[in-house]
């Protein structure tokens, strides 16, 4: 608390907020659906630390940084894929074969003030490390769709979009290294105008620039007019993923060549889940060079779901979590020993019990009950009922 100021600081720092019980309960339901889905495909949970060295991050943009006591510059982790890559390069350096890892944890990114930007974001995701080829990409893509659907999200034909960074890079392959990387970083920043201008200035013939522009606009069936191994890879991944998770939408997975994520580490297949009200709910793809940057080259692919956005999308669609079992609020008749014993027998019968008033219900239904004796209570309608009967009634 700031000394000298009279008013205590009650609000959280900009971009951070409290999650109160109603929301927290809904997030738990989502968390459970996601972690169970990840586990059912063989993904093992792990928890990297909250803080990483700033210098070990692939991009210094948007880091929330501070000096550690040993004066090294550290950052709140901006991204879990990077943390997992670092961890794998250290802890699984000698491991051959596929690692299936999952996480559910917050990440932190700087946002300009006054933009309503959140600086703490909860990510749920998986990384499939050591496996390459379309079947690995398809596994991860299908798992994303399964995860979203198991949470209750309604998908349509445009929700899941799949691109390929290799196709984009190939469009500008004739350019020299330096202008090509400038073109690609402009595309990652969303500046299509600047990217194409840069390519033209670097000597790319006008008709090739026009061709690149057209290719970057290709979506859906238009991809059939393109050729190349990377194009067939994209199509194959989408087909295989639909086999793995047919889902509720026929032909989910829209090929989209212009899908270029902002993060620099993707090398091949990339994908996003989009929602009309909320924007990007999840993103992922193949990042074969990232772990190598930490000294242990390994092919890898994965995705991260922005859990708070997923929650917002579910809420926008009218989703509410399945009712939690009601909470019995037990009011003492004066005999404290009987009250505690009664609470024990209600709990033993499988009921949720709170003694006394409950000021924050988080949307859970309350059943008020007054203690009669060690195993019986009186309900609001005047009936006296024993613990086992009450449990049976509430279970219906």
């Amino acid at each position: 608390m700031e000394s000298g100021s009279r008013r205590p600081l009650l609000s959280a720092p900009r971009g951070f907020r409290d999650i109160l019980p109603t929301e927290a309960r809904e997030l738990r339901v989502i968390e459970q659906a996601l972690t169970e889905t990840f586990a059912a495909s063989g993904y093992m949970p792990l928890e990297p630390p909250m803080i990483e060295y700033s210098a070990a991050q692939p991009t210094q943009e948007r880091l929330i940084q501070f000096l550690d006591t040993d004066r090294s510059l550290v950052a709140l982790r901006p991204d879990l894929t990077t943390a997992v890559a670092r961890l794998v390069a250290q802890r699984y350096r000698e491991t051959a074969g596929a690692l299936r890892l999952s996480y559910f944890a917050p990440v932190f990114r700087e946002e300009p003030a006054m933009t309503a930007g959140e600086r703490e974001v909860v990510q749920a995701g998986v990384e499939l490390i050591g496996a390459s080829g379309p079947i690995a990409d398809a596994e991860v893509l299908a798992l994303l769709v399964e995860s979203l659907e198991r949470c209750g999200l309604r998908l349509d034909g445009a929700t899941i979009q799949v691109g390929h960074v290799g196709i984009v890079r190939r469009l500008f392959a004739p350019l020299a290294e330096e202008p090509r990387s400038a073109v690609l970083s402009a595309l990652r920043a969303g500046d299509l105008v600047g990217a194409l201008r840069r390519a033209h200035e670097a000597g790319m013939p006008s008709e090739d620039v026009t061709r690149a522009r057209a290719a970057l606009g290709v979506i859906g069936r238009g991809i059939e007019q393109l050729d190349g191994d990377d194009v067939s890879e994209l199509r194959q991944v989408v087909h295989l993923a639909r086999e793995r998770w047919p889902g509720s939408v026929k032909l989910w997975g829209l090929p989209n060549i212009g899908l270029v994520p902002a993060l620099p580490y993707y090398t091949a297949i990339v994908f996003e889940a989009l929602h009309p009200d909320v924007g990007v709910i999840a993103s992922g793809g193949r990042y074969d060079l990232l772990i190598g940057a930490y000294g242990a080259p390994r092919p890898a692919t994965g995705f991260a779901i922005d859990v708070l956005r997923l929650h917002r999308a579910l809420f926008a669609e009218g989703w509410r979590p399945a009712d939690a079992r009601p909470l019995v609020t037990l009011h003492s008749g004066g005999d404290e020993r009987a009250t505690m014993r009664c609470a024990a027998s209600l709990r033993a019968a499988g009921l949720s019990v709170a003694i006394g008033d409950v000021a924050e219900t988080a949307g859970i239904a309350l059943i008020a009950a007054e203690v009669v004796d060690e195993r019986r209570v009186k309900l609001g309608d005047g009936r006296t009922i024993d613990a086992a009967t009450l449990a049976r009634e509430l279970a219906r």
Partner: protein, 221 residues
């Protein structure tokens, strides 16, 4: 789903933007520059929203609008994460560094002796990025308007400003030291909307790109 929302910058660009939209057969008849209705129906599941130029990027970044027409200058200063899809070529202007005419040598001498220059600008982000890239040590003085008087009144040595014809600079006896960037109007899109609603958006983008290249080759003839 709500209509496709197109954010248009009020002010200098609005008439050109409306001409472009009219040329691709969108109904802009209900948009009245200076009018009080700021969200108007454009027919065919399109609506227009009018806002200040610097707010257009915010609207589109946050998905309150799907598409927008706004100057590159505004985009550079806002650093909003939006897709820049088409250069519409109108509203051309340049970000420049300017100094009092004849005083360039003196200010460079000052830089050698005093180690830094003061730069007044309405565009601190653009100015800072430019001088950082050039490796010049400057102190940015943010002003809300009329940066061009800053050197005259001793507020700053140089200015970074947006110029169209250069008339204002000449009138204040300033000369361009260097150009930072050429700017013109851009068609921008919210990234998620652009991908999710491509079937609706792509035809508009194509028509505007055609219109822009035709109007440009027309202007060059």
């Amino acid at each position: 789903m709500r209509p496709l929302r197109f954010a248009l910058a009020q002010g200098l660009l609005l008439n050109d933007a409306l001409a472009a939209l009219r040329a691709i057969a969108l109904d802009v008849s209900r948009v009245t520059p200076g009018g009080r209705r700021l969200v108007v129906d454009g027919g065919g599941n399109v609506e227009f929203v009018l806002a200040r130029p610097s707010d257009i990027a915010t609207y589109v970044e946050r998905g309150a609008a799907d598409l927008g027409i706004v100057g590159k200058d505004v985009l550079m200063e806002s650093a909003a994460r939006v897709l820049e899809l088409v250069d519409l070529h109108f509203g051309a202007c340049r970000f420049v560094v300017a100094a009092p005419r004849g005083a360039l040598e003196r200010s460079l001498d000052e830089y050698r002796h005093l180690g830094s220059l003061e730069v007044a600008t309405k565009y601190p982000r653009v100015a800072e990025a430019h001088f950082r890239a050039r490796g010049l040590e400057v102190e940015i003085v943010k002003v809300a308007g009329s940066a061009e008087v800053a050197p005259q009144v001793g507020l700053a040595d140089w200015i970074v400003d947006l110029v169209a014809t250069g008339g204002t600079l000449r009138a204040n006896d300033l000369a361009i030291v260097e150009e930072i960037a050429a700017c013109s109007a851009r068609l921008i899109a919210n990234p998620a909307s652009y991908h999710y609603r491509r079937a609706e958006i792509a035809p508009l983008v194509e028509k505007l790109a055609d219109w822009a290249s035709r109007s440009r080759s027309g202007a060059n003839q």
